[in-house]
């Protein structure tokens, strides 16, 4: 069985096609979904891609969090369907209360784009099971509203429950509390992260590595993780 992974396009999404290609490279079938629809078309997992949905008006991800299809995403995620929110998608997940905390303007007040080193903190989610805890990876980061914040109690809870999935290493690019780059929900099926794994899935297009320019493909394992989680579920 080939896993079918939906990628929702919102007005202003930019990385939807990259996410679709990443799904294909990982061996699954990408399914293009539309924000205004109420139909998930029977997909096995969903990706909320990066970009500037609805122009990021009101707040990044705020209007998208109330898009028609998000009601279906919320219902399916509550039943355990894997959902990955990348950058603007992460902002949608916190605005939709599918993940705790919030994302604010970068502390330095500027858009930033860099190849970002991360440490894997949780390798037992639907999107991170191909990693090992403590592993260091590099994937691109590009955002203006990437500062992760939560109140003290929430922060203590997500740290205590191991919900921090990735931490920035070397540089904290946006002032995120506790260097948090990505978090998961209690069930490990919903993951949100600011950096972009879909831009690091093919040699020739990813971050530079010591081996060669643009050869980094650390992002691929996010999508392979979902594929193996879904295949494992079916077996």
């Amino acid at each position: 069985m080939t896993a079918r992974i939906g990628v929702i396009t919102f007005p202003g999404s930019l990385d939807d096609r990259d996410a679709q290609r990443a799904v294909r490279v990982a061996g699954a079938e990408p399914v293009a979904l539309w924000h205004g629809s109420h139909d998930l078309e029977g997909v096995d997992a969903v990706i909320l891609p990066g970009g500037f949905s609805y122009g990021d008006y009101l707040r990044a991800g705020a209007i998208a969090a109330h898009a028609p299809i998000m009601a279906e995403v919320a219902a399916a995620s509550a039943k355990g369907m894997p959902v990955l929110g990348i950058c603007n998608g992460f902002q949608m997940l916190v605005e939709a209360h599918l993940l705790p905390g919030g994302l604010i303007r970068n502390a330095h007040q500027q858009f930033i784009r860099r190849d970002q080193k991360l440490r894997v903190e949780n390798a037992s989610t639907a999107w991170t099971n191909a990693f090992t805890v403590g592993e260091e990876i590099v994937i691109p980061l590009k955002n203006a509203d990437g500062g992760y914040i939560a109140d003290d109690e929430t922060l203590r809870r997500i740290e205590g429950e191991g919900l921090v999935a990735f931490r920035y290493l070397g540089v904290n690019p946006n002032g995120s509390l506790n260097d948090i780059a990505g978090i998961t929900n209690e069930h490990g099926n919903v993951l949100g992260l600011m950096p972009h794994p879909e831009h690091a899935v093919e040699p020739g297009f990813g971050p530079a590595t010591p081996a060669a320019m643009r050869s980094g493909i650390d992002g691929l394992r996010f999508f392979q993780s979902a594929v193996s989680a879904l295949v494992g579920q079916a077996a």
Binding site: L58, H66, V94, G102, L103, I104, R105, A107, Q109, G147
Partner: protein
């Protein structure tokens, strides 16, 4: 037509990078009297007919659920202007 005004501010304890950037530029321009700047937003909801208690209650609901994000912002004022 009456308009309901909703004022939203970043939470007081939270870093407001936008306000911080303006604070810095004011100091550079010699306006040293202003120690701190915080920037929020004003949202105007125009209503057809009169603002009943029901309409105002609805405005309060959307102010909390859509217009602001309680994790990072506070609704500091909801008022009616004619």
């Amino acid at each position: 037509m009456p308009t309901i005004v909703v004022d939203v501010m970043p939470k007081a304890e939270l870093l407001d990078p936008q306000g911080k950037a303006v604070t810095g530029s004011l100091a550079r321009l010699g306006h040293g009297a202003f120690q701190n700047v915080r920037i929020g937003k004003r949202i105007e909801l125009t209503v057809e007919g009169e603002v009943t208690d029901e309409v105002l209650a609805e405005a309060k609901t959307i102010a909390d659920e859509i217009l602001s994000n309680g994790v990072i912002e506070d609704v500091v004022n909801i008022g009616v202007v004619e």
